[in-house]
Symmetry: C2
Subunit: 452 residues, 2 copies
């Protein structure tokens, strides 16, 4: 009996070993194909250089919809379609900020209105600046000290977290809530120090939200250098600011997410790989999230190119409107529910096209553990970290329906130097780093498709 058990174990072990060996060969085929022949980098050049930034509702976004559909067809998708979605339209327009210190001269400061913010309607809006270093300090300020003032929320992005997303989440409430907090105490507008890890003067825009019960006043952001200078001058001088801006919400519009799929050979269960097609209206949206788009398309292309027979349907989804509404993700979730589609897994790439280091897993423990048991296959590709328990916002609606979701975890050191800025350009993307991300996504989808 002992001997038989031993033999069985041996056979089982050998079978598992054989399986692992076969997977490791397939992993290598995938990486060789993508590193040698991947099209993602050149596609990203096209998207960023011929279309550029592409905020939801803009003409550029609509061009990117047609572009993505064509790239999915080129990749060999069996079916490509546009999914209708109503998206909010926010327009920046012209904007300027000037400040005046005790020398009496107005000086221009580089700035951006925060996304979704209302502007000044093209009129000058001015007042004295008061500075707070934290939300706690602001909370302690009596309303009469804020009334008719401009509040400068001077909370720095922490440099000391190795995981920069921790610093981002930590500083995020400032960007999100500064306007309504200022309005509640009668202030005129809010200036927020950018959520930026760079020591430069580049302002980082991004989403803000209004408390609907309070008047909607403008919120703008300035870069770290300008914030440092403003902080220094506020120590011993009265500073007046003057804002003139035209931004604001311009209603809703019919737009589209773009979907391409390769049909499953065994069943109609669906695996999603995705990113978001929209970007903020500055820079080129290269890392955020052109990278995720071209990586997702590369997954389909690589399955086709290598002739991998996928059991389940694999769908690349280019979500609309992640940046200022996540309407694309919500609409996709709604459609899944309505059509009663069975989704077995979804992964998003939306943290930049940097060298992959891990995969974050938002799912139950047995599922997590199964994926973690594949770590030896991923290690040669620099992927070792499966400890995260979050996933991208576009697939959050799927997660809420019980679908196991995941996110590609690239190296996070450079992302918040350029995130949501004019500096998020194609030149900041490394070909090899981007393609390694596509490689790891394809490898993971291969394993999920085979084993789930």
């Amino acid at each position: 009996m002992k001997k038989i058990t031993g033999t069985l174990l041996l056979l089982f072990g050998m079978s598992a070993f054989g399986q692992s060996k076969e997977d490791s060969v397939q992993f290598r085929k995938i990486s060789t194909e993508i590193l040698n022949n991947g099209k993602g980098y050149n596609e990203l050049r096209e998207l960023t250089k011929t279309i550029g930034n592409r905020l939801s509702g803009s003409e550029a976004y609509e061009k990117s919809v047609q572009w993505a559909a064509q790239k999915l067809r080129d990749a060999g998708a069996d079916k490509v379609w546009l999914q209708e979605v109503m998206i909010p339209v926010w327009v920046r327009g012209k904007e300027s900020l000037q400040i005046k210190t005790s020398n009496g001269k107005w000086k221009s400061v580089k700035m951006l209105s925060l996304g979704n913010s209302e502007g000044t309607g093209g009129k000058d809006l001015s007042g004295e600046i008061i500075m707070v270093k934290s939300l706690e300090e602001y909370d302690r300020l009596p309303a009469e000290k804020v009334k008719d003032k401009i509040v400068f929320f001077n909370y720095p992005f922490s440099q000391e977290n190795v995981q920069t997303f921790i610093s981002y989440r930590d500083a995020n409430p400032y960007r999100r809530t500064a306007a309504s907090l200022t309005a509640k105490k009668g202030g005129k507008f809010a200036i927020v120090r950018s959520l930026s890890s760079a020591f430069d003067d580049v302002p980082h825009t991004g989403n803000m939200r209004y408390d609907e019960s309070i008047s909607k006043i403008p919120a703008i952001t300035i870069g770290n250098t300008s914030a440092d200078e403003l902080e220094a001058v506020l120590k011993n001088q009265k500073v007046t600011a003057k804002l003139n801006s035209n931004c604001g919400m311009k209603g809703e519009k019919l737009s589209h997410s773009v979907i391409g799929e390769i049909t499953g050979k065994k069943d109609q269960n669906i695996i999603v790989v995705g990113g978001h097609l929209d970007s903020w209206d500055v820079g080129e949206g290269a890392h955020d999230d052109g990278a995720g788009i071209v990586q997702s398309i590369e997954v389909l292309r690589t399955f086709k190119k290598l002739g991998i027979q996928n059991n389940h349907t694999i769908r690349a989804v280019c979500f609309a409107n992640e940046e200022n509404g996540t309407k694309g993700g919500k609409q996709y979730g709604k459609m899944v529910k309505e059509n009663n589609e069975k989704h077995i897994f979804a992964i998003e790439s939306d943290a930049g096209g940097f060298s992959p280091r891990g995969i974050s897993l938002e799912m139950n423990e047995p599922q997590r553990n199964q994926i973690k048991s594949w770590v030896h296959l991923f290690l040669p590709y620099g992927v070792y970290n499966f400890e995260g328990k979050y996933s991208g916002s576009d697939i959050a609606p799927l997660h809420e329906m019980g679908v196991p979701t995941a996110e590609l975890v690239p190296d996070p050191q450079r992302y918040f130097d350029i995130h949501h800025t004019e500096e998020d350009t194609f030149e900041k993307v490394s070909r090899r780093e981007l393609l390694l991300g596509s490689t790891v996504m394809t490898q993971l989808i291969y394993m999920i498709d085979k084993n789930w």
Copy 2:
């Protein structure tokens, strides 16, 4: 008895746990100090922007010697000195390459003479180009086919290795041996496709060596785009090349490595952390190896700043002449032998200032295993890979004497895009990535100093 053993195990376990907890707190202190207050990035800006590239023997190199000594003093080194070393002097001078196809017109091609190559003495040297794709193909060519020709070694840098250093080592023999191989069969000079992972036209210089028994003919390199174009045109046309260059060896010169140390509290055993101060004569030597220099200085500064009482003497060594002779490393090894200094560990950072991923360990198994047992401490800093078994060339003489040696392993995806080129500039270095490298070096030195 069982209970006692259990208790002992528990105590031992708790003690080990307490130790580990203490180390993890110290690791965090180190990273917080460096990520918030590290000076390495600004020092690298100084080195690259005020001194620039600094080939051994150049005036710029001598300036960098004074600069490094001052930075070591500023970092709080107890002792700083220059170590004399005779180094070879190679000078590039003016150089140009032109090619002529069947249209009869000369066209300039971007090129660099390879380091240590002789030039044409300022005269035109021309002939017909023949191309080989590999050393094997060249070996099969009869001498009469090579005689009076120019040999184009068109061997591509492989894109498919995840670890780019494998591709570098694979293509390295072409750069190193092309000239003498060509001379042996009577060729006039050699053109080598650059050892480059970038899809651009930037030539990558680097060290070549002559077989002293053969005449020394020139070897030059061209970028990938030019190599692709030359390959295409050679398919159906006769191509003539004309080289004019003035480079060559100009004897030897007295120069210096720079050493700074903080004295051990317990003994005079020595731990070395280093990089090389020289660079090639193009670009700014930012990643190669200004990064290693400022990271090594940061280790000393951080020990001093945090008041860590080091048991052993910790020495930061800025080696001279790594690029074209490794005379600095050799001289350092000679001095160690002559002075009978006991070195217990040495680590070099010479693979770029990118996000650290691991530490390569060239030492015996018990030593390797001890360092590998610290992996849980390093994981929060993104360092997981201790599998490499190599270390830097400057500390190879120490290794030959039996000293355990190591090398910082940063992410390797971008290095060979810019290595040895005009593109290796400060702008290519990320502050956070560079400082994380310093962090991991400091953490490792802390552990070695405490436990060895």
